[in-house]
């Protein structure tokens, strides 16, 4: 191995390099994979996970945990549809959805930061409560959208690429910048790395945590709106189990559950790996039961490779 190659593989961006290699392999081996249509379909399929992963990254980096994302996404989608139908204005409907998401996130944050209740339990509780509200509001049935303009959110294209993918890309950009270049991002990493030291250094730990959860809520609201538009209805049962996919994507992307470590590029790779795995399995027509096994093995391989890489690097 030449020195340059070694440096590339073992450097900060090593995960990205591994990913690119894997991507090239899949493109070669899986028929129909590397086509415009499939690429767009693939990207659209990771929009929800990808959007929510942006803020989940912050949450995990600050040593917190959020299980309520799936419920908030479903709830926000319901609100977007019902409010749009009721008010008759899509814009106001969207605002209402994002406001609801932010509100739930804010409540999460306050309970966790101020009352010092375990994040797992708190968000498990709001996960149930919010899902219950979504079910009650709709009587357990999907709610249709009155105005067809609503579908345009997901269907419209810009430069040939559907709007949701643009939204995802923009959010990746914004949160990557926020993580590395702003006081908020550094404070988040510091809190996760050493909460006590951050507090003693004068970081307003409680406020930062509340902000993280509120932002998470806003982002879930956006994801919920796009999802509702994509599936052309508000569904109270949508996005069940989303939390696990999002957290896995983040962890796969190198975010440490022990806090203090996160990169946007890692998270993007994590999200894409999961999306590509699903996509390729369906293209290869792998039977449903075997998909479980393949999914598990891919997860293991991905982290194993990354571990080998970083232990070759001598980091522990």
């Amino acid at each position: 191995m030449t020195d340059q190659l070694k440096k590339l593989l073992l450097g900060e961006q090593g995960l990205v390099v591994i990913f690119i290699v894997a991507f090239a392999l899949v493109s070669l081996l899986v028929p129909n994979f590397l086509t415009d249509r499939n690429m767009l379909g693939l990207l659209q399929s990771v929009v929800t996970v990808g959007i929510v992963a942006c803020t989940m990254m912050f949450c995990l980096a600050a040593r917190d945990f959020d299980l309520s994302v799936g419920s908030i996404v479903a709830f926000a989608g319901m609100v977007a549809v019902m409010a749009s139908n009721y008010i008759g204005s899509i814009l106001l409907g969207l605002v209402a959805a994002i406001a609801c998401g932010a509100f739930v996130g804010f409540i999460n944050g306050v309970v966790i930061a101020k009352f010092r209740i375990n994040a797992l339990i708190t968000t498990l509780a709001t996960m149930q409560i919010v899902r219950g509200l979504a079910l009650i509001a709709s009587d357990g049935r999907a709610v249709g959208i009155n105005s067809p303009d609503f579908y345009q959110l997901a269907l419209s294209k810009f430069l040939g690429i559907p709007t949701p993918i643009w939204v995802l890309a923009v959010l990746f950009g914004i949160f990557g910048f926020v993580l590395n270049r702003t006081v908020f991002g550094k404070n988040t990493l510091a809190i996760g790395g050493n909460p006590e030291a951050s507090r003693l250094a004068g970081v307003n730990v409680d406020r930062t945590r509340i902000w993280i959860f509120a932002l998470q809520g806003v982002v879930c609201g956006i994801a919920g709106i796009l999802l509702a538009s994509r599936i052309t209805s508000g569904q109270p049962n949508a996005a069940v189990g989303l939390e696990l996919s999002v957290i896995s994507a983040c962890v796969l992307g190198g975010v440490s559950l022990a806090g203090g470590r996160a990169t946007m590029s890692g998270v993007i790779v994590g999200v894409l790996i999961m999306g590509i795995a699903e996509n390729a399995m369906n293209l290869l027509n792998i039977p449903a039961f075997y998909q479980y096994i393949v999914r598990g093995v891919i997860l293991l391989l991905a982290v194993l490779l990354d571990n080998l890489r970083s232990s070759a690097l001598g980091r522990r």
């Binding site: 129909n32 079910l135 249709g144 994509r230 599936i231 069940v240 449903a288």
Partner: protein
């Protein structure tokens, strides 16, 4: 050019859908087309699955949707990917709640199945000589799922029509759709009404009713004190009939996965390959199978 047809179902782990796929495969083998089977548990996965089919160059697909309200979205997505569309089991509805009649459909209405269950229970009660007001009913419910609501409501309507009192029908909400959850929920009902000795039970599927039957056994209600009638007729029900002694699980309403799988796939193939449009609506019916005649019933439905 090869013919490629997709078959998307909402719960790929369920035996029912496994069977649909199996019979669709049979059609594929006979006619020599490729069948792509994809599971899509929610609306988002479904949309991705349709895109995925488009990318693979399929010409049409059959779908059992996770939610009927996805109708307009599915139609739009199918059109965008230039795919022919048929539905099975659950019929798509528009934003206004009316069925999308343009989409060819094969299925059985949830309410109808529920009514068949209710009728089976009523018949068995008559056979055992039970009076309606000494009997309690366990409604194993999973209200998150609209189909589940329609099925149990169908059963209840028949019970009520036959003199069952509304206050004798008790709700046992299951937290998940597996047998253990139904068992736990039904146990609570049984224990709360220890004075009632005769019970009937119905629910979303065989697993739900089995839970109620197990619960009755665990609190010591004998087999002849319970009438459970399930829906589905796959192995969990058959296993019950194979037991050496009869249990409170009296019967199950079998819907034929053969017609739903084989015929839809065949129809779609004809549509794609021979441009022969299928009938807009084909309604199938369920058949009650009991301990003594389940083999015959299954054979009659073309499954074995």
């Amino acid at each position: 050019q090869d013919t490629k047809i997709g078959f998307i179902v909402k719960q790929p782990e369920e035996p029912w859908f496994q069977d649909e796929w199996k019979f669709a495969d049979q059609a594929a083998k006979e006619k020599g087309f490729t069948l792509v089977k994809i599971g899509a548990e929610d609306g988002e996965k479904l949309m991705s699955a349709i895109d995925n089919l488009g990318a693979q160059g399929a010409q049409g697909f059959i779908v059992c949707t996770p939610d009927v309200k996805l109708g307009p979205g599915i139609v739009a997505k199918a059109a965008a990917n230039n795919l022919k569309l048929m539905t099975v089991d659950d019929r798509l509805v528009g934003a206004d709640g009316k069925a999308l009649e343009d989409v060819p459909h094969m299925g059985i209405s949830a309410t109808k199945i529920g009514e068949a269950v209710g009728q089976a229970i009523v018949d068995e009660m008559k056979a055992r000589g039970w009076k309606a007001d000494e009997v309690g009913a366990i409604r194993v419910s999973y209200d998150q799922l609209p189909t589940a609501v329609d099925r149990v409501e169908g059963a209840i309507s028949v019970l009520k029509a036959n003199g069952f009192k509304a206050e004798n029908i008790f709700d046992a909400p299951q937290a998940k759709t597996d047998t253990e959850a139904a068992l736990n929920a039904a146990t609570v009902v049984l224990n709360a009404h220890a004075d009632i000795k005769k019970w009937v039970s119905f629910g979303l599927n065989d697993e739900a009713v089995l839970g109620a039957v197990r619960a009755s056994e665990s609190v010591g209600i004998p087999a002849d004190g319970m009438i459970g009638v399930g829906i589905g007729g796959a192995d969990s029900a058959i296993n019950e009939f194979k037991k050496p002694a009869a249990t409170g699980f009296v019967g199950t309403v079998i819907i034929s996965p053969k017609r739903h799988g084989y015929e839809t796939a065949l129809n779609m193939y004809d549509w794609v390959a021979n441009n022969k449009e299928p009938e807009k609506l084909i309604l199938t019916s369920g058949a009650l199978a009991k301990r003594d005649d389940y083999q015959k019933v299954r054979q009659g439905l073309g499954i074995q």
